[in-house]
Amino acid sequence: MSVPENRTNGTPKIGVYICHCGINIANKVNIKETVDFAAKLPYVTVAKEYKFMCSDPGQELIQQDIRAGLIDRVVVASCSPLMHEATFRNATGEGGANPFMFQMANIREHVSWVTFDKDAATVKAKALIAAAVHRVSLHRPLEQTRVPVHPDVLVVGGGIAGIHASLTLANAGKKVYLVEREPTIGGHMAKFDKTFPTLDCSACILTPKMSAVRAHPNITLWTYSEVVGVEGFVGNFKVKVRRKPRYVDEDLCVGCLECIEACIFKKGKFPDEFNQGLSQRKPIYIPFPQATPLVAVIDPETCAHFKTGKCKKPCADACQPGAVKFDQTEEIKEVAVGSVILATGFKAFDAARVGRYGYGKYPNIYTSLEIERLVNAAGPTGGELKMADGRKPKSVGIVHCVGSRDNNTNAYCSRVCCMYSLKLAHLIKERTEAEVYNFYIDMRTPGKGYEEFYERLLKENVHFIRGRVAEINDWAMIDEEKGHLIIRVEDTLIGRVRRVPVDMVVLSVGLEAQPDADAVRRLFNISCSHEGWFLERHPKLAPVSTFTEGIFLAGACQGPKDIPDCVAQAGAAAAEALALIDKGSVELEPNTAFVNEEVCAGCHTCLNVCPYGAISYIKEINKARVNGALCKGCGTCVAACPSGALQQNLFTDEQIMNEIKGVMNHV
């Protein structure tokens, strides 16, 4: 890109277009006054208003005025640039001007939606328009560069969302790297016995997809791995993946379990993570029979060899293919991809945080995730639900909204708990014939077949008590309550406080963002909502995109959702990635830095701070020079340059100072 001149060409002719946005802006900002004001600003030759500037006729207004030679630069005062900057740059270009001879003034999100007084809103709108006019008068034509999109895709997280996205892409012929932190893919869904509302067996519908991932020639599956570095930009990411040593060679292991048999620990001794700690595993283990890949893993935290160095390592002797390798070390893989799909899922709420529900204090109080394992035929009890003393529970209370819809923990609704509580009520009744009580605030069952499932549970004689549970403890007021857990609740339908004695309690814990969501978001340079969920670009119109081009979201990492929604989102994210790949190339924002050689003293400061090595020193003339193809527009050199010789396109000092002047002159 050529170094732009340091002054404008000719006298600017600026067109200002003020949008009503229906009544969104017009109701709070005095449009007429604002148009009159804009018309008197320096270099403004056209000032107009229109109901919807983003509509075709709105854009046409701009184009006509450019074609008629009335204007050569454009200011649109409407919504956030995130919404329509691209639209109006495009319109400016279509009209025949350079698309960057455009500036947007945000008088909706920054004014009419947040300023309640009409006069104050009008003053503020004027100031922002003045700022944009001052700024655009110094804009210069810029050229965008095109770069090709790398066709490979990185998927992070191998729950149902990551699995589905990977398969969709792979089936379309694209190469996928699927990175999963745990020793197996499957995520939460792999732990469930049945899934609502159809009660189909979770394993039956999930495991074929898991094996398909493993077998697919287009998918490189890296389990027990984490992304540790991301560089680059849309179409051209460089990703570093750390493969933790599992001390078992993935290519050699056949999943025969002989090593586990042979381990010096004759029985499991350490809490089994997959079973929520409800059973014990050995230091060498395979999380569950359908684990994918079906490869053993050694946990160095508990393995006698790693702890003491004195183990005879019978596991290694027992392994015929010789897959057990105690000298395995971590491996760093570097791959190039054009797009990324994040599908890192959720974490279940820690029930111990609500002290009054007695989790961890009384026996027979379980979280829903623990119950999922206990009612699972492949779970630690073979699907039998028993109390600590071995009896079958005669009554079970299911407490909804633990860590959801609660200002002390999470204010939001976790969306899936009403439905999975119904599912668990059904399964518990089926396994134990116990009386089952659901304590709910509101039953939320929107979804295909969901309300019908609720109806079905009502007919199965499950009890529904409407009220948030106050506390759960062992305090018996009368003899009949002795030896039971007492659930105290205000039944809001009969208007009384009730005490319901039960044998067992299920706490329906809500969904939370992963504890490391913030670190992951930083790694991929995206945003989080204040609850920690990854933030989509637009809640309605760009639900799987992020504010960083080329990075997409799928599944519960974006917010609580059930399996059907996760799968739909995963498909959408895959389609977005495919669209990007098929487009073949992307245009880059021309916000690169450049050197004003008249001022540059050749001091080298910028060379040392540039993270991309985009600046070189030209010895013959003693000046620095920016390579536009390498520059990412981070602005570090601009801030560091002691003489102000480094400037950045779209953000030159004079543009910014003039913009500020625009505000200051008119408030």
């Binding site: 609500v354 002290g355 009054r356 007695g358 506390e471 403890n473 062992d474 305090w475 007021m477």
Partner: protein, 302 residues
């Protein structure tokens, strides 16, 4: 840091034993705790319900006096043993910080009385000061008569931890338990430690109030407590003084000593029973018997 003792009305009347024992314990720990000069009512429930502004102004006057008395020391805390005073003063402190315009109004009111606003004076409960400032190690080191063998039901009531939980868990407070452990006592696992004692209802709708007290007394006895320990003069009063009435109403024997946590601290630290106001309680005898002086932390009493 400087501590000033804010008594409030209860500690000068029904809660006399609380005052005596707390001052004795702080004395034995060598922590100076002078009384706030010329203190006035905390505003408690009555004022708060009728005019919040007046209630806050009353509280703020105490803050101004405290700042004046602590001249030169910017880090001054009011130590407030009564749960109602603690909540009232704490609320005023918070409201002043959250609502700057309220602060302005209060400042004007105080100026008319020749005082200035002092918004840096903190409000602390003695449980907080003992556990977090003085420390349990120091308490243990002062124990001369271990309470080993004594089974204590720690009762927190409501206002110390609700709505504000400044120094303890709102749902499962443990500061008092930890102090009791430091004295060698065993504490009871009971889920009623923050349940209502009846509060002022015992004085207005007696049967409702006493029922609430009964629930607490009965459960403490059922679970084998030797004594109930409180940190609030009204809780102590409700739980102790209605025992005969309750016994008659419910045909149940609920006699159990109810003491202040500072009294047990004093006993374990070997202080004189009279200095701890034990004679002011209705039936402290079983407790006094428990705390037989021991050597090496071994219990030799009944």
């Amino acid at each position: 840091m400087k501590y000033l003792y804010y008594p409030g009305c209860s500690l000068k009347s029904t809660g006399r034993a609380y005052e005596e024992s707390m001052l004795a314990v702080f004395g034995a720990l060598d922590i100076p705790l002078p009384e706030l000069h010329d203190w006035n009512c905390c505003g408690a429930t009555a004022y708060m319900a009728i005019s919040e502004l007046k209630a806050f102004a009353l509280c703020a006057r105490n803050f101004s006096l405290a700042a004046e008395q602590a001249k030169g020391d910017p880090d001054v805390s009011l130590v407030v043993p009564c749960a109602a005073c603690y909540l009232g003063l704490n609320k005023a402190y918070r409201y002043m910080h959250e609502h700057p315009d309220l602060k302005g109004t209060i400042d004007k009111a105080l100026q008319s009385a020749g005082l200035g606003l002092a918004d840096g004076v903190r409000v602390r409960h003695p449980l907080d000061v003992i556990v977090n400032d003085i420390g349990l190690d120091k308490i243990s080191s002062k124990v001369t008569s271990s309470l080993a063998g004594m089974k204590v039901a720690c009762y927190y009531g409501c206002q110390i931890i609700r709505p504000y939980a400044d120094f303890d868990d709102q749902q499962n407070p443990t500061t008092m338990n930890r102090i009791m452990h430091a004295l060698g006592a065993k504490t009871l696992d009971w889920p009623l430690k923050t349940r209502c004692c009846g509060g002022s209802l015992t004085g207005t709708i007696e049967d409702v109030g006493t029922r609430l007290s009964y629930i607490l007394l009965r459960e403490a006895k059922l679970r084998g407590a030797d004594v109930i320990v409180t940190a609030c003069p009204l809780c102590q009063f409700n739980l102790e003084c209605y025992q005969t009435t309750i016994g008659r109403m419910y045909h149940d024997r609920v006699d159990i000593p109810v003491v202040y946590f500072t009294q047990l601290m004093g006993m374990a630290m070997g202080l004189d029973a009279k200095a701890l106001g034990l004679q002011r309680l209705i039936s402290p005898r079983p407790v006094i018997k428990e705390a037989v002086p021991v050597q090496g932390g071994q219990h030799v009493g009944a």
